[in-house]
């Protein structure tokens, strides 16, 4: 039983891996045949070489950008969840907060970056953290509100029959019900967070930051270096996403999305 599942899982992981390797191989050998210029799209082996060569600086840049992402996520998610708790509890808060959330979500990040640079100075990580926080606030707010309010009416009736207090209903029904929704919001937030931090860095920041590095290397025609940094940014996005996924499986083993593993 367990072995059969392991084999199935290996097969499930094997196919995408095969496609990935196939694309790399095709990329590696077709560019020369098609006569694509090196600076337009370097071969994977060249990018890998740059990764090794620039490893130290890239690691430093990745660490700096990751700090911005984590800081921004912490601020944005905390505010989003807190606002959702207020919005789920009081209709007035909901009517006030949701339009603000929508307005915040429609701010183009490009418009925000020069402003936050003035607020916090462009060298401060806080400038990008603010951008990330604004970006993730809305998905966290909306998802958490849904989780807190989309509760089985019969569950509320049951709690009423038990003469449960509002606080008990929140603790024993609404919050556990909201957790899967919070994780859905977090998955969106991590992806948005990496994009927000890297794009925010295009408008300024220390040299050892992924966005700044990508821009300056591209400006100086070292496209293979820029590509190496893009690969790192991509890997960071995936790493954050997987971290959230693992956290979800650990914290919510009862949820439908975890059942295959838990059962």
């Amino acid at each position: 039983m367990t072995r059969a599942r392991d084999v199935a899982r290996l097969r499930g992981a094997g196919l995408p891996l095969l496609v990935f390797v196939g694309v790399l191989v095709l990329w590696e050998f077709s560019l020369a045949a098609l006569g694509v210029q090196q600076f337009l799209l370097p071969r994977p082996s060249v990018i890998a070489g740059s990764l090794a060569e620039q490893g130290g600086l890239l690691a430093q840049a990745a660490l700096y950008t990751a700090t911005e992402v984590v800081g921004g996520l912490a601020i944005g998610c905390t505010l989003g969840i807190a606002a959702a708790l207020a919005a789920a509890r009081w209709r007035a808060a909901r009517n006030a907060l949701v339009p603000i959330g929508i307005a915040m979500s429609s701010i183009p990040i490009i418009a925000m970056a020069p402003i936050t640079n003035i607020w916090f100075t462009s060298d401060a990580a806080a400038s990008r953290m603010a951008i990330v926080a604004v970006l993730v606030f809305f998905p966290m707010l909306v998802n958490t509100i849904r989780g807190l309010t989309e509760v089985d009416p019969a569950a509320l009736e049951l709690m009423n029959a038990c003469a449960a207090s509002e606080a008990q209903i929140l603790r024993k029904v609404r919050i556990p019900n909201a957790l899967p929704f919070v994780f859905t919001g977090l998955k969106v937030a991590t992806t948005l967070g990496v994009i927000g931090a890297v794009v925010g860095e295009y408008f300024g920041g220390p040299l050892a930051a992924l966005g700044v590095y990508i821009q300056s290397e591209a400006y100086n025609f070292r496209y293979n270096h820029a590509w190496a940094a893009i690969v790192i940014a991509c890997a960071m996005g995936i790493a954050f996403y997987v971290a959230v996924l693992v956290l979800e499986r650990v914290l919510l083993p009862w949820h439908a999305s975890s059942r295959e593993v838990a059962g």
Binding site: D152, A154, A155, E157, K172, P176, L252, W254, G263
Partner: protein, 294 residues
């Protein structure tokens, strides 16, 4: 709080009144849009009784159950539970309730689901565990205490819901079509189990159903309701001997009572409920007819 009272579970139960409805009525909406769901219901249910509310869809039987549980307020008249106003009884946690869906919290294990009302009452952990274990023994699910609801069948989930409702040792158990979503075989087995639980706990039960055989099999009295506006048109005493078992369903008296309830429903204008309430699909009815001719 305690459901301790001596009863033989016979229809002549003369215990203290547990549910008293006096001219109880319910109107939904206001003015032009007002709909009278229930009109002047009078019914007294005594300790140890098993009373079924039966009627066509829309007759207000579930609404009536919710009035007793103070889950919705009455518009007119009075509802008393354990001699107190229904709201006071609810706040005192004097009844347990089971819905058509099990309404189990999927993040809780079976054991912790049964403990939920005890947690709300503020009972200490070890006492909660002890009571929940006893309740799971009662519904014969001790082996599943550590499982999550989705690992159980529909019938087992409903037994967990019954264990949860009984965990607070209520004087009154309200059941709103608890077996309505289950297949016929499971329903009959759970009917037997419920009879056993009723005998062992002595809890007064008010049970909503639209199945005539289920109503007759379980009840000490059947309150027949009609729709628009919802009223109790007849109350039929079910004088089948206790304890009831599979053989009960084969007694002549059982069939007479099924017919009596059906007649009462028909007189109440519930033509539409008759066909599907017997638990016979068209194919099964066809087979029985064919056998009759053979």
């Amino acid at each position: 709080m305690t459901g301790s009272h001596d009863t033989t579970g016979s229809p002549e139960a003369t215990g203290r009144p547990v549910v008293e409805l006096q001219h109880a009525g319910k109107v939904f909406g206001e003015g032009e849009a007002a709909v009278t769901a229930l009109e002047s219901i009078d019914l007294t249910i005594r300790a140890g009784e098993f009373v079924t509310l039966i009627g066509p869809s829309g007759c207000g039987k579930s609404t009536l159950l919710r009035l007793i549980g103070d889950l919705i307020p009455v518009s007119t008249g009075e509802v008393r539970v354990n001699g107190k106003p229904a709201a006071q009884a609810r706040r005192g946690r004097e009844y347990g309730i089971v819905f058509q869906a099990p309404v189990l919290m999927e993040w809780r294990t079976v054991q912790r689901n049964v403990e939920l009302p005890l947690e709300i009452m503020g009972l200490p952990r070890d006492e909660r565990a002890k009571r929940a274990e006893a309740m799971l023994r009662l519904v014969e699910l001790s082996d599943f205490a550590g499982k999550h609801p989705w690992q159980l069948s529909g019938g087992m989930q409903q037994r967990v819901a019954i264990a949860r409702a009984l965990a607070i040792d209520p004087a009154l158990l309200l059941m709103d079509e608890p077996f309505g979503a289950l297949d016929e075989m499971t329903r009959e087995r759970l009917n037997l189990e419920l009879m056993e639980i009723w005998r062992r706990t002595g809890t007064t039960i008010v049970f909503v159903t639209h199945s005539i055989p289920e109503a007759v099999f379980l009840s000490s009295r059947v309150a027949v309701m009609s729709a628009r506006p919802g009223r109790i048109t007849r109350v039929i005493d079910v004088d089948l001997p206790q304890p009831r078992g599979n053989e009960t369903r084969e007694q002549t008296r059982y069939f007479q009572l099924v017919t009596a309830v059906r007649e009462a429903l028909r007189q109440g204008g519930a033509e539409d409920v008759i066909g599907d309430s017997e638990g016979l699909g068209p194919a099964e009815a066809e087979r029985i007819r064919a056998e009759g001719y053979a």
